[in-house]
Subunit: 97 residues, 3 copies
């Protein structure tokens, strides 16, 4: 929703966007239940237009979510916190939902 | 409160401050009820000494708040998320309350 | 936990880390109760390997926590919000838990 607002405002292709899911948020990538299925479909569409979706391996482990069960468009990184810090040092702005 | 602490610490005029209200937070600009009325008065005072208050149009729409009903000191932007990202690229620090 | 994940990922000594406790979070520095005692011990260990722990004086005051009651490894700053902004202007990435 936020990302759609952002893309509508700046225009597609005018910004690099990465969504890093940390902690409990990684469960958003599980397409169980109707609500989550719709969410995953929305993310799939955003992934197709260039938005990166990243999951924290520590968080997946803590929630017993197998890497293999994630949608194909999700990249797994060892630690979400490092990814967030690294992206900021690369010039990305940070927005905490 | 946070902003007052900040201004007391760095001194007025020594920092540019912008408060971007996104999502449910835009309702803070509605001066209905006693609590909110006091909050709006505090913001009014901060606006007078140079603090910018910004509301996300998407959020206003989602909560059926008319732009015209907002206090005069509030600026409306199409998408709060873009505003937050843009300010960071301009060198603003980001603080999520 | 997050900090441990971060250090495991980037390696100790490869990043400067500062934890700024603001608002209610300053109570984490009080080692009353078993849970908090364990937390303070974890922080103590992180402090020994170079992580800075900072508490906001405004927040301490608001919660009637005496500066003297804090663990030795905690630094008190007048306003946490200024510290967070300053660190970002110094090049620190910001991560809101």
């Amino acid at each position: 929703m936020n990302i759609n607002n952002f893309l509508n405002d700046v225009g597609q292709g005018n910004a690099d966007i990465e969504v890093v899911a940390n902690g409990e948020a990684v469960s958003a990538f599980k397409s169980n239940g109707q609500t989550n299925k719709m969410l995953v479909e929305q993310m799939q569409k955003l992934a197709e237009i260039g938005v990166n979706f990243v999951a924290c391996q520590n968080a997946l482990k803590a929630q017993s979510i197998a890497k293999e069960s994630l949608p194909e468009f999700v990249t797994v990184v060892p630690a979400g916190i490092t990814e967030i810090a690294r992206k900021q040092t690369e010039g990305f702005a940070y927005i905490k939902p």
